[in-house]
């Protein structure tokens, strides 16, 4: 019986366990994670600080998950080295674990660029793990409601962090080198909408600039302004954790390179999640698409293949669903080609079309729509599926889909298949 070893404990790892156990209920699974916690929904850390979930409810799988799936979960244990020839993993305790198949789902780590004086800031946090969120939450509780928070980076992590802690502090100020918020998932107009919603909630922004020098409680900006703060959050970006596999001789570009079976360049090592790059279904380019659904499905494919079932996951593309201060954003794909914009009331919709295919879209609606108002994100998955299937837009009523996503936009044969067959 093969021994399946998993490094990591988030969506990729859980996908791998569930995929593997669909095929193989007997073989041994060992999971190694440097985080000492039961698997939790990583994107939920902002909701935890917000009070919208708690430690128990944010568990990604029930508390008996490892036991029920026959997983030897080694939590709080760090993998230090992978020997791809001997097929072993060396742990921080010195223990050596042998594997037949290995899944590497080590995720990513906060990227902290060198900044002058940063070491003099004592209350300095990142925001990516449960422990980092708990540490930030404790600091804010200890300091009380008068705390001024400075966040470096107005991307997904920084803005979600802000939403999580807004009620726990007096002010939140952002500094970002980019000239707009969330440039990775929004176009300029959409960035303005979200920035306005954040400003309405009391957040302030210094964009297109950076911190020239920190002292313990001040940040001198390149523009000459000086900002005072009590707590600093670094949310500049993340870097994939690839070192262990790179050192083991596995092919790494920006991320660990995987194919549609989640295989790396080593036949017995799979990789999945935020540490990986894979061909995206829209452009065919290999890239990191660090979102949870991709991580789960890459992990699931790895688990199925490790157990001997040659199942592909070849439908990776970026997709984000996220709320900010009363606005809700759903986005997918890439933003090139012809732009179709529909802006009405609280709704902002933008579609990107090229060669009769939908390449990407951005939908923003109110989280609490008014009576009779259909929010832009309602039934958005019908549109996402156009990207997933690379549907020829000449075969559907695309105008209807841009107005109100509906299966009525498809031909009768498609509707029969969708609603009259098993999926």
């Amino acid at each position: 019986m093969p021994h399946f070893v998993i490094i990591g404990n988030s969506a990729a790892a859980v996908g791998a366990i569930e995929g593997f156990r669909r095929i193989d209920s007997d073989s041994k699974i060992t999971l190694i994670s440097d985080e000492p916690h039961h698997t939790y929904g990583r994107p939920l850390i902002s909701y935890l600080l917000l009070g919208k979930t708690d430690r128990e409810r944010m568990l990604y799988r029930p508390s008996d998950f490892y036991e029920k799936n026959g997983v030897d979960a080694r939590l709080g244990v760090k993998a230090m080295k992978i020997d791809a020839k001997k097929k072993t993993v060396t742990l921080d305790s010195g223990e050596i674990v042998s594997y037949d198949k290995l899944l590497y789902g080590a995720g990513s780590s906060p990227f902290v660029p060198p900044m002058d004086g940063l070491d003099s800031v004592k209350r300095r946090y990142t925001f990516q793990t449960l422990d980092s969120a708990l540490a930030l939450g404790e600091a804010l509780t200890e300091l009380g409601g008068k705390t001024r928070v400075l966040i470096i980076g107005a991307g997904l992590i920084g803005l979600k962090c802000a939403e999580g802690i807004r009620e726990k502090c007096a002010s939140i100020t952002f500094v970002d080198l980019a000239d707009r918020v969330l440039p990775s998932i929004l176009d300029e107009q959409a960035s303005d909408i979200i920035k306005s919603a954040c400003e309405d909630a009391g957040l302030s922004f210094h964009l297109g600039t950076s911190v020239a020098k920190f002292t313990e409680s001040t940040a001198a900006l390149a523009t000459g302004e000086s900002l005072e703060f009590d707590v600093l959050v670094l949310a500049v970006g993340v870097r994939p954790n690839t070192a262990l596999l790179a050192d083991a001789g596995v092919t790494v570009a920006r991320g660990v390179v995987i194919d549609e079976f989640s295989r790396t360049s080593d036949p017995d090592i799979y990789a999945a999640g935020d540490c990986c790059e894979q061909k995206d279904v829209v452009t065919g380019q290999s890239r990191i698409m660090a979102v949870l659904p991709n991580a789960y499905m890459q992990g699931e494919a790895a688990g199925l293949n490790a157990a001997g079932a040659p199942v592909q996951f070849d439908k990776a593309f970026p997709l984000n669903a996220i709320g900010f201060f009363g606005k809700h954003v759903l986005s997918a794909g890439f933003y090139d080609g012809e732009e179709i914009a529909i802006i009405e009331g609280n709704n902002y919709k933008k579609f990107f079309v090229k060669d009769n295919r939908l390449r990407g879209f951005i939908l923003i609606g109110s989280k609490h729509p008014e009576d009779g108002e259909i929010p832009a994100y309602e039934r958005a998955g019908i549109i996402t599926d156009l990207i997933r299937r690379a549907t020829d837009l000449q075969t559907v009523d695309f105008t209807l889909l841009t107005q109100h996503p509906a299966l009525a936009a498809f031909g009768q044969n498609v509707r029969r298949e969708y609603l009259g067959e098993e999926h």
Binding site: A11, G15, G41, R42, P43, L44, Y47, K52, T53, R57, M58, L59, Y60, R61, L292, P293, Y296, M297, E300, L319, N320, A321, I322, G323, H328, L330, A332, K367, H368, D371, P375, Y377, E378, R379, A380, G381, I382, T384, D385, R388, D397, L400, P405, A406, L407, A408, Q412, R415, Y418, L419, G420, E421, E422, H423
Partner: protein, 144 residues
């Protein structure tokens, strides 16, 4: 496993299925008393093909490979014995499932958390009320 299937040739677009769905969620004995004057949030909905007389009902397909469950960031969506259900206490209303479902079958409840068809298995009747209430057999619950 048994699923809800629809036959658009038999659907009159009467929306009764939507009312039965909303009624099932109330747990009350009388439909008109339970729903009169209320805004309903059914988990099945009638679609109309523009410029035609074609109408049909759409509700959760309880997919074999459920993208909503696989993409759920909180673990609120699960599949047990072929039925996909949502734990509303765990849902944080991120709507990744809304963005993922190819059939548009995850809906926003009044509180904002996600709601969906759970085949009425939790109700006293234990079978889909939309099917029982469809007077034209345009919605069928069967094994195929």
């Amino acid at each position: 496993m048994k699923r809800v299937y629809v036959n658009e040739n038999r659907c009159l677009g009467c929306h009764l299925c939507e009312y039965y769905c909303a009624f099932a969620a109330t747990g009350q004995p009388d439909m008109s008393r339970a729903l009169k004057g209320k805004k309903i949030r059914p988990r099945i909905h009638i679609e109309e093909v523009p410029n035609s007389d074609i109408t049909f009902a759409v509700s959760c397909r309880h997919c074999v490979e459920p993208l909503c469950v696989k993409g759920c960031i909180s673990g609120a969506l699960t599949k047990t014995d072929g039925v996909i259900s949502v734990d509303k206490d765990k849902c944080v209303s991120c709507y990744t499932c809304v963005l993922s479902c190819p059939y548009g079958c995850l809906v926003q409840s009044e509180s904002g958390v996600v709601d969906k068809c759970q085949l009425c298995l939790q109700t006293a009747e234990g079978s889909p009320r939309c099917v029982d209430g469809c007077i034209n057999a345009a919605i069928i619950y069967e094994e195929r």
